[in-house]
């Protein structure tokens, strides 16, 4: 299912956080949103997972206007791995993951056998099966990230949005998570800080600066030394990855502009 941001604008307290952002995520593709801190990436994502109402513009999934759907209906289509992963009470890993089924269940309705099996498979796949009965408060940051991703996956969405999912993850789990995204068949919109991981994992990239989309296209087209200099204010050389050919950035520490 396609995801489309159309002239999305968010104004809060007189400040424009996102200005007229239009971006397409074609069905089954992974699109990365990159940009400096405060450029509006997370704000744009929040409109997609319905934590925020856009001031103007819309978010479309397929033919439907997401901003007009009941929350529960959009939660069956769009799942999110957000930054507020903080859990305040000591739920077990299994319980948190099972809450991903909430939009599909009524009230306190119990999970079906199929749903419990789904939860187990996803936890096993994300390497947290052995933590099923652990309290989430006892987990490391990286383990908790994977719990949150598992919760989003058991939601069985067609569209997955992730806000800096690789935070706290060690290298292996970063690579694992991003390759899982591209192999998932889901339509994915992901905010990433690491431009090299973004270049390797995403089919297309959108670059945000001060709330505006300043570039979009394939990683090769977008990640030029010129753009990285203009948007991020750093000097970088771009070299092709020796195995995959993806553009990779090499930063020069002395020459920050």
């Amino acid at each position: 299912m396609d995801l489309e941001l159309d002239e999305l604008t968010v104004v809060t307290d007189g400040r424009s956080l996102v200005r007229g952002l239009s971006l397409q995520v074609p069905d089954g593709k992974v699109v990365g949103l990159v940009g400096p801190n405060g450029s509006g990436k997370s704000t744009a994502l929040r409109c997609v997972y319905r934590a925020l109402r856009p001031s103007s513009g819309t978010v479309r999934v397929g033919e439907r206007d997401l901003t007009r759907l009941p929350l529960r209906d959009s939660a069956r289509t769009v799942a999110a791995m957000t930054q507020d992963g903080g859990v305040d009470f000591d739920f077990t890993v299994e319980e948190v993951v099972a809450l991903g089924r909430a939009p599909h269940l009524r009230g306190n309705q119990a999970l079906s056998g199929r749903e419990r099996a789904l939860c187990e498979r996803v936890m096993d796949r994300l390497d947290i099966g052995h933590l099923a009965h652990r309290g989430v408060l006892t987990l490391s940051g990286g383990e908790r990230q994977r719990v949150l991703l598992a919760r989003a996956l058991v939601q069985e969405p067609q569209i997955l949005v992730l806000d800096e999912p690789t935070n706290h993850l060690d290298v292996r789990h970063q690579v694992d998570l991003l390759s899982l995204l591209s192999g998932s068949g889901l339509t994915v919109l992901v905010v990433l800080h690491d431009l090299n991981l973004a270049a390797a994992a995403c089919d297309r990239l959108g670059v945000l600066s001060q709330g505006r989309l300043v570039a979009s296209g394939t990683p090769e087209a977008v990640l030029t030394p010129q753009l990285v200099g203009d948007v991020f204010g750093v000097t970088a050389s771009v070299v092709p990855h020796p195995l995959t050919g993806d553009p990779q950035l090499l930063y020069s520490l002395d020459s920050a502009r």
């Binding site: 929350l71 939660a75 507020d84 809450l99 192999g183 068949g185």
Partner: protein
Amino acid sequence: MNMISIDEVVTPRPEAAVRGRSASLKALLLGCTALVALLLVSVVVAIGLGPAVVTPGETARHLWAALSGGRIAPDEVTTYQIVWQIRTPRVLLAALVGAGLSAVGVAIQAMVRNALADPFVLGVSSGASVGAVGVTVTGGLAVLGVHAVSVGAFAGALVASLLVYAASSRRGALSPLRLVLTGVALSLGFQAVMSLIVYFVPDGEATSTVLYWTMGSFGAATWGALPVVCVVVLAGLAVLYRYGRALDVLSLGDETAASLGFDPDRHRKVLLMLVSLVTGVMVAVSGAIAFVGLVMPHLVRMVAGATHARLLAVAPLVGAIFMVWVDLAARTLVAPRELPLGVITALVGVPVFIALMRRRGYTFGRR
């Protein structure tokens, strides 16, 4: 690399899953049945104990006579009256309020995402105290007779909740932190008003009303007020239970709640109305009994886990049992005087709580 796809993920392994689920459900049912039995025994024992001791067998016989319209020998009338007219409403009220405070504590802690929250954090109890003291001092609501003070307290509680709601909501959003801070600030304001009244109206009755409301007592329990409390508390418990999974989701944070299809602000508004109503009714008949609504949720969470549907089934039963025994201690330990309930809940609860916490390495929901 082993790729995931949602279709591939859905190969069912139902046997194991179903077995795990029914085992935990069975444990819950077993636990609740045991707690209900313990509650019934506690109620009967507590009704029998007091200045005139009635054995549990006798108590049960009198209760049965009252419920079934049976006959009582003439020489037993005094005992019957003590059992049925004086002690039964009091013990039942204790059970109801204990259950209600525990459940409301569970709900409030989840909805404001704060492990330190209790039913009174939103200013309900101090609002009720002002209402009660105001009625006592001014003699207002005199047409309501003996219920005037309770009605005044309830009105005060509702006014307090409305003020907290109005002051903390902003553009239709009800942030948990703002809710708690507003509640705390308004509580302090109400306490100042109360002190002012007591200061300028130095009559003994106002002072004792303040004491009564800040420490809590079931001394005024009668059959008259019980039906209202019973209906409100039991209905409140039933509705809160239905919000079990919503509370789970709310306690994951507003962003996550929205992404899971739950409007956090709308849920908080409904829950705020509900818990204010239930708390207001309880405070109006028993005063603000500290500690139960704060600690029972934590104690039960240590044993039963954090899932709210389970908590909201177990915590009211535990709270009811606890409160029945606390009230028994309050009226028998230094008879004929009565200890304030708040003193006993604190004296018993604090050490137990600290001991449990240290033993289990309980995190209070945070690291």
